[in-house]
Symmetry: C2
Subunit: 213 residues, 2 copies
DNA sequence: CACCCAATACCGGTTTACCGGTAGATGAAA
DNA sequence: TTTCATCTACCGGTAAACCGGTATTGGGTG
């Protein structure tokens, strides 16, 4: 997955030319960078991406033309191996979590130091997730909002959810718990309603994300 | 989820009476413990669990009568809200990971200090995952074995996997990627073969665990 | 006691997943 | 150039999931 010869191509997407220049200068000193391309709109970059590749994208998530969350997801869909680092000048907890959800490998504030940019770049390139200092602090906070609803599942529901994540079928679960398959299905349906999802796949993702298991 | 008045009932499952006594003495001094019950076999404990509950179980995973991994899973199935702390006198990386996989909230070596036992107990009770010092060190090591196969999925496969985790149906994915539903299904089937799973649920869990997304 | 929730269970119907194959086109590596 | 992986696409069949309902039981709580 990681290149042996550290030769990385970088793309910068930011609608502020001054930021682009800043990043460009800042990254000039980093060894192993083979090329740099800059874009001022999401559309431009996506067009370019059709015939080119980038190892890493520094993505301003507050672009004028497209929503940063969607763009990130589009990039990961079009080129899953591309590493996306979100860059922004404001850090809001839910925003950070959402962009990570959409495939970003990190979140950087524009006021981060040059050293931090380089550190995060390396971190992301070696497969990790990277945040600048302020962002880490925000993530460390409990986050009242998303903490509030632990999605109260009943015992039975948790039991069944556990088995669902193991790929067991309804009838299989029924046998294991000595229940009617119809009962198991009812529980599953109740859970899907509670968690506001519409199939087993989303149910599993919801369980993983909310750490219900 | 957490009790307001910290009154916890503890169960100890270990086939060595001396260890039971040791743990009992060690935990005597911990405030907030309302009761302690000890068992020397897994069967005994499971029988007891049918008519009683425990907030936390210190589980020796090397019992004579049953496999520790299975027992842990059984406990979590029978009483999902019970916190299981695995206790053992040997720490092997894959074993630790497996028992956590089966629902344990921590792993302690028997040579851990009294202070460590208490710390881990508190950590687990407050919803965290707790390890004694040596265990942490083992977990920190890369682990050659499980690192070796990054389960090489192709780009297309990753794209589709991403959409599968979002609960999209085969036909939905096909539309989004402008492909035939049959093609999407083929990709899905190839992935299931590669990852050695047999349905979408396991596929998603495999993806999450191996951080393929 | 009345009420609600959890847990149990059912019916009939539609859609989707899953399995067993097979197979053409392409582009890159040996 | 032949081989290999990838991506594409198909057929026919079985199993399972999903949806819209309904309904009974037993435990708690106001």
């Amino acid at each position: 997955m990681l290149k042996q010869t550290a030769e990385y191509s970088i793309a910068i997407v930011d609608d502020h030319p001054v930021v682009i220049e800043g990043l460009r200068t800042l990254l000039q000193g980093v060894p192993g960078i083979s090329s740099m391309h800059a874009f001022t709109t999401g559309g431009e970059f996506m067009d370019w991406l059709e015939h080119h590749t980038a190892d890493i994208v520094l993505l301003d998530i507050m672009l004028p033309d497209v929503n940063g969350l969607d763009l990130c997801k589009d990039i990961k869909l079009a080129a899953p191996e591309t590493i996306v680092l979100a860059v922004s000048n404001q850090a809001e907890r839910s925003m950070i979590l959402q962009i990570l959800q959409n495939g970003a490998s990190g979140y950087l504030l524009k006021n981060a130091s040059a050293a931090e940019f380089r550190r995060c770049l390396e971190e992301a390139l070696s497969g990790g997730v990277a945040f600048s200092r302020e962002v880490r602090e925000i993530l460390a906070r409990p986050g009242r909002a998303e903490l509030k609803a632990p999605a109260a599942l009943t015992r039975r529901e948790k039991q069944i959810l556990q088995l669902v994540t193991e790929g067991k079928t309804t009838t299989g679960i029924a046998k294991e718990l000595h229940l009617s398959p119809l009962t198991v299905e009812t529980h599953r349906r109740n859970m899907m309603q509670k968690l506001e999802v519409k199939n087993a796949a989303e149910l599993i993702m919801a369980a993983v994300q909310r750490k219900l298991l």
